[in-house]
Symmetry: C2
Subunit: 324 residues, 2 copies
Amino acid sequence: MFGEFELIERFLKPAPAALDRGVALGGGDDAALLIPQAGFELAVSVDTSNADVHFPSDAPAKAIGHRALAVALSDLAAMGARSRWCLMALTTPGGAFEDEAAAACWLEGFGRGFHALCDRHQTVLAGGDVTRGPLGISVTVMGEVPKGQALTRAGARPSDLIAVTGALGGGAGGLALWQRGERDLAHPLLKRYLLPEPRLEAGIALRGIASAALDISDGLLADLGHLRQASNVGAELDMDALPTAEGLIEALGEEQAQAAMLGGGDDYELLVTLAPGELEKAQKALAEIGLALSVIGRCCEAPGVYGVPADAAPGWQHFHRGRP
Amino acid sequence: MFGEFELIERFLKPAPAALDRGVALGGGDDAALLIPQAGFELAVSVDTSNADVHFPSDAPAKAIGHRALAVALSDLAAMGARSRWCLMALTTPGGAFEDEAAAACWLEGFGRGFHALCDRHQTVLAGGDVTRGPLGISVTVMGEVPKGQALTRAGARPSDLIAVTGALGGGAGGLALWQRGERDLAHPLLKRYLLPEPRLEAGIALRGIASAALDISDGLLADLGHLRQASNVGAELDMDALPTAEGLIEALGEEQAQAAMLGGGDDYELLVTLAPGELEKAQKALAEIGLALSVIGRCCEAPGVYGVPADAAPGWQHFHRGRP
C-alpha cells in the first residue's frame, strides 16, 4: 500500500522552483511560492470532479487526469486568462490501492494525463494534497490576464452576436456512447467527452473583441441563461446555425442530437457575444489556431430566449451511475 | 432538495468585488479576479478534509467549516504569509440533503464556521465549487509574503534552537475525548481538536527571526523529520520541555499524553528553528499576540533525532472510523 508521500513523489510530484515559470518555491514545503506578474490580475477557480458523478469511474485513468484539469482550465479560458499554475487535491480509495501494481498503473496513467495537459498549456503543478476517500479530484487553477482585460459574463449588449467555438453536443454524445459500451477513445465523440480541450488560446485571442464570454459546462441553454442574467439581455437563437459535433447525428439521431446541443453539458466550448463589426476579426483570430467560431444567434433587449423548441431541456446533469 | 446554485447563494456565497481586499471580480463568473500586491510572493496551498478520515462526520457543522479552513490556513502560517483569499470545493452527500430543513441547518452552521474564520484573518472567499458525493472539503488558500521573506523548512542550522508555539497533544487528546463520547466544545482539548487556531500572526511575527518553520499536522516527530530532511540537520529534544496541552494529562494519563505530544497530529502549532540569540526577540513578539514559544530542543549536525523514547510513534493517522 502506498503512503501519501511515496504516492506524491512517484506520480504527482509538484514542479521544483523555476523562476522563468513564476515559481519561487515549488512542491515539498507547506505552501508553494508563486511570482505574479505586475500589471496582471490573477484569475482563480476550483473545479471538483467526482467518480460516477462527473465521470465514469471506469474511464481510462489518463482521461480522468486530463479531464479533471481540463474542466478547471476551461474556466480560465472563459476569462481570457493565460494559465500559469495549478494545485491538485486528489482523493483516492484506500481499498483499491492495496494491490500495489494496479495502483501504480492507475496513478501513472492519471498523472500522465494530468501532466501532459499541464505541459500543453505551460501550467505548473505547484502543489497538492492526497487523501483517502472515494475517488475525486479538486483542481485549483491560477492564470493571469492583463489588468482590466478579462472577459466576463456581464458585457453583452442587445444586438451583439452570439457565437460558439468548435461544435456542440460532443460531451453528451460521448457520454451516451460510453454508456452504450463504446470504449474506443479515438471516436470523435468519446474524445470530446473524455478528453475535452480547454479553449485557452481562443479566450486569449478574443480579449478586446468579445463583449462577454463563458464556457459551456452546464449546456448551451443553461449557460446562455447565466450570460443573459449577468448581462441583462435576451437571446434569439438560430437552430439551423448550431455547429454539430462530428458523429453526433449518426450516433444519436436528429432529435437527440438537437437535445444534446441545446441541453447537454460537458462541451467546454466558449460561448461569446460580440458586436457584429468584430465578427470577421474574431473568426480570423480563431482560424489561426484552427478553431471555428459559429454565429448561433443574437442578443436582444426582451428578456428570455427565443427560437428554440419549447420543450428544450434547460439544464444538464453530469454523469450519474446512481444517486451518490 | 437544494440545487447547486441555490446552495451556494444561500450559505457559501463568495464575496463580491472589493478593491480594498484585492478582489477585482468576486463570485458568480467563471473565475474570480484577484489583485496581487507588487513586491510580494503568492503562497498557495490546498488541503482536503474528508468525513471520517480527517474529522468525525458527526462533528458540529460549524466546527467542520472552521476546521477545513483552519488546516489550510495553517500552511500559510508556516510560511509567514498573510492570508488574503481562499476557494472552497465542497462535496456534499445528495441523500442527506433531501430533508431541506436539516440541510439548511447543517449548511448554515458550516458556512458560519467557515466565514467567521475567514473574517478573523481578513481572508476573502473568492470562489468555489459545490458537488455531490461523500462529504469532503478541499480548501485552497492564497496568501502574500514580501519577496524573499517566506519561512521555509530548509533554513535550520546545527546549533539552532527548536521551538514550538502554544502547546502539544491537544489534537490527539481532543480526538480521544471525542471518541469516548465527550461533546462539550468548551472542553479545551475538544476545542483544540475541532476548532484549531491557525498561527498566522505568529508566522508573520517570526519572519526574519526563525530560520525554518512548518506546522505540526502529522505529529511533532514526523514534522520534525520533514524539517530535518529539508534542512539537513539532526535534532536533540528535551522531553521535559514539551509544552503540554491543557487537560491532556488528566484526560489521557502521563504515558498517553507523551505519545500524543510526540506522535499525535492535528495540533496546528508552528515548529520553528532559530539562532539562540533570536530567542528573546521571538518570545517577545509572540507574547504580544498572547502566544507562548517554548524551546524544546536544539538542532545538531549528526542526522537523526535524539532524546526521545525509542518506541515513540513517528507518524499520525488522522481520524479513522474505518478504512474508507
